[in-house]
Assembly symmetry: C2
Homo-oligomer: 349 residues x 2
Amino acid sequence: MRAVVFNGVHDVSVEEVPDPEIHLPTDAIVRVLATCVCGSDLWYYRGESERKPGSRIGHEFVGVVEEVGSAVSTVAVGDVVIAPFAFSDGTCPNCAFGFPSSCIHGGVWGGRDAEGFRADGGQGELVRAPLADGTLVVVPGGMPSEELLPSLLALSDVMGTGHHAAISAGVRPGATVAVVGDGAVGLSGVIAAKRLGAERIIALSRHADRQALARELGATDVVEQRGPDAIEPVLSLTVGVGVDAVLECVGTGESMATAFAIARPGSRVGYVGVPHGAEVPLQAAFRHNVGLVGGMAPVRAYLPELLEDVLAGTITPGRLFDFRGGLDDIPAGYAAMDERRAIKAMARL
Amino acid sequence: MRAVVFNGVHDVSVEEVPDPEIHLPTDAIVRVLATCVCGSDLWYYRGESERKPGSRIGHEFVGVVEEVGSAVSTVAVGDVVIAPFAFSDGTCPNCAFGFPSSCIHGGVWGGRDAEGFRADGGQGELVRAPLADGTLVVVPGGMPSEELLPSLLALSDVMGTGHHAAISAGVRPGATVAVVGDGAVGLSGVIAAKRLGAERIIALSRHADRQALARELGATDVVEQRGPDAIEPVLSLTVGVGVDAVLECVGTGESMATAFAIARPGSRVGYVGVPHGAEVPLQAAFRHNVGLVGGMAPVRAYLPELLEDVLAGTITPGRLFDFRGGLDDIPAGYAAMDERRAIKAMARL
C-alpha cells in the first residue's frame, strides 16, 4: 500500500510500504477514505519537535473496516468508522472517567500499541487500528456523501479539540466567550461555543479571510489586535471585566498571557494548544480566581455527541478544510499549511 | 476602644485606638463578639510579607451591629452578623458573577474603602464595616450560644476557603478526594469534601493530633509522608491513577507539585493556599488534563449556604479553634500559631 512518510524537516513523501496485518484479536484493518494534516504535524515538519526519519505520520482518518480480529465485537467489516487521534480501550479507569486520551493501554497512530506492535500512521491507504472496539466510532447509514465526509473527518481531532476547549472553559448558554487563535482549532472552538449556547463570541483574529469564516461559524465580534494590544479591545466589549470563558487555542507564551488578561474573575481558560513557552501568571490567577483547565482533548469521549450533530447538519466543521486533494497531494498540503496558505489540508483517497 | 496593632516582625500588641465612626451612608459599626488569627496573618508576623508598623490587623469577626448608615437596609442595629474576610458591594459585575472577592468597589479589613476611608482591622472591639449591605451576613435567632459562636466565626474565612478548594476541585458525591495540608484550611477542606458527599477523603498529614482531628472531621485515610514521598502511597490507594479531586491548601512549590502528581487524568487541583514559589507543571498537566482552579475564596458568596449547615449542626468548623482566649490573648495566639503549637487561635471579646 501507499502511505505518507516523514523524511526530514520540510520533507514528507508518499511511499510504498507493507500492507498492515492483524496482530492482535482486538485489532481492525481500516481502508482510509479521507485523512488530513494537523497543526501538530507541523512541529516535526518544521523541526520544532523530534521525529525519526522514515516514520509514518498522520493521526486523523475516516475509513471502511476491511478486516477485524476475533475479539472485535462493536465494529464489523464494511462499517464506515471515524478514528480519534489516539487509540484507547474504552474500559480502563481513565477511559471510564471520560479521558481516553490518557488510556492506560492506549497509544497514538504511528506509535506502538501496548503489546509493542507499531500502529500505522493515519495518512495512508490502510491502517491497523489497535483496540478497535474502544477506538473506532461507527458512522450509521453506510457510505457518507462527499459533502458529509469532511465534517466526519473533522471529528477525528480538530472539532473535538475545539469542543474540549469550550467544555474546559465552562461555556454555558448565554455566555460571552473569547477565542484566542484563528487556526483550525480556534475556528472549531467558535463552532463549539456557538453549539453550547454562547451568546457572544469574540474571535481574536488578524487575517481577513479567517475573520470572515469565524463570523460565518458563529463569531459575533472580531478583535484584530494580538498580544497585549488585544486586551483593551476585549475588555471594552465586556464592561471592563473580561469574558465569561476563554478558549486558548494556540499555546504560546503570548496567547496564554492574553487569555488570562481577558478572562473575568471567576472564569476559566480552556486550553488545548500544546504549551510552547507558555506560563501561568499564578499570582494574578489566584487573586482573581481565573482557572486553567484543558489539555490533550479526549476526542473519543466527545465523538458520539458531536457525530449526532454533524449527521443532523447542525454543525459543519468540514468547512475548515480549505485545501483538498488526494493522497499524493498531502506533501503539498503540509507546505500550504506551513506557509499559512491553508487553514487545514484534507486528502480524499 | 482597644484593638490589635502590628508593631513589627513577631510583635503585635493590644492598644488603645480611636473609636470608629460612620463615614459613608453604606457603613455600619459592629461591636466584635469574637475574632481570630489567620494563617495569612503569619506572613507579616514572620516578616514574609511587608506590612506597615502601626497598622491594624485581622480580617475575621462576628459581632453585633451597633450603628448603621442611612443607606443600609439589610442589616439593623442589634443584628448578629458574620463578616467575610473582604468587604464587597454585592452588586458589581464580579459580585453578580459569584466572586465578591474581586468586587470592583471592595477592599480588605484594615485597608481603604473605595472612597479612601480606612476600614478597621477585625481584631478589635469595634469595626467600621464598609458596604454593610453587601458584606455582612445576619445570623438569624439573635445572640448565639457560646457553643455555636466558634463555628460562626469560622465562616468568616477558613471554612469558606476550604469549601472553595472543594468546589474548585469539583468534588462530587462518591468522589475520592485528597487534601494537601493539615492546617486550618486543609481541615476545613476535609469538612467541605465530606459535606459535598466525597466517599473517600485522604488527608496528607504528618502530625498525630491533626491526623486524629482530620479523621474526626471526615478523613477516611491518612498519608503521613510529605512531598514526593507522598505520591506513591496516594496512588496505591487509588488503583494507581490518582484521586478524583485534590484540595491544595498550602501554596508552596512542594505542595503544588504533590497535588498535581496525585491528581488523576481529567481531575482538577482546587488551590486556595496563596502561591509561594509554586509553579504549574504545565506539560504534565496538559498531557493528562489536570486543571488548576481556585484562588482567593469568594467567602461572602458561600456564607448563606454554609451558615445554614452550621445552624443545623451538620458542620462544626469551630472545632478548629484549639487556642481560645480574650482580646489580650491574641498576641499569644499569634505566637502559638507561629510555633505550630496551635492550629487556629480565637478570641472571645
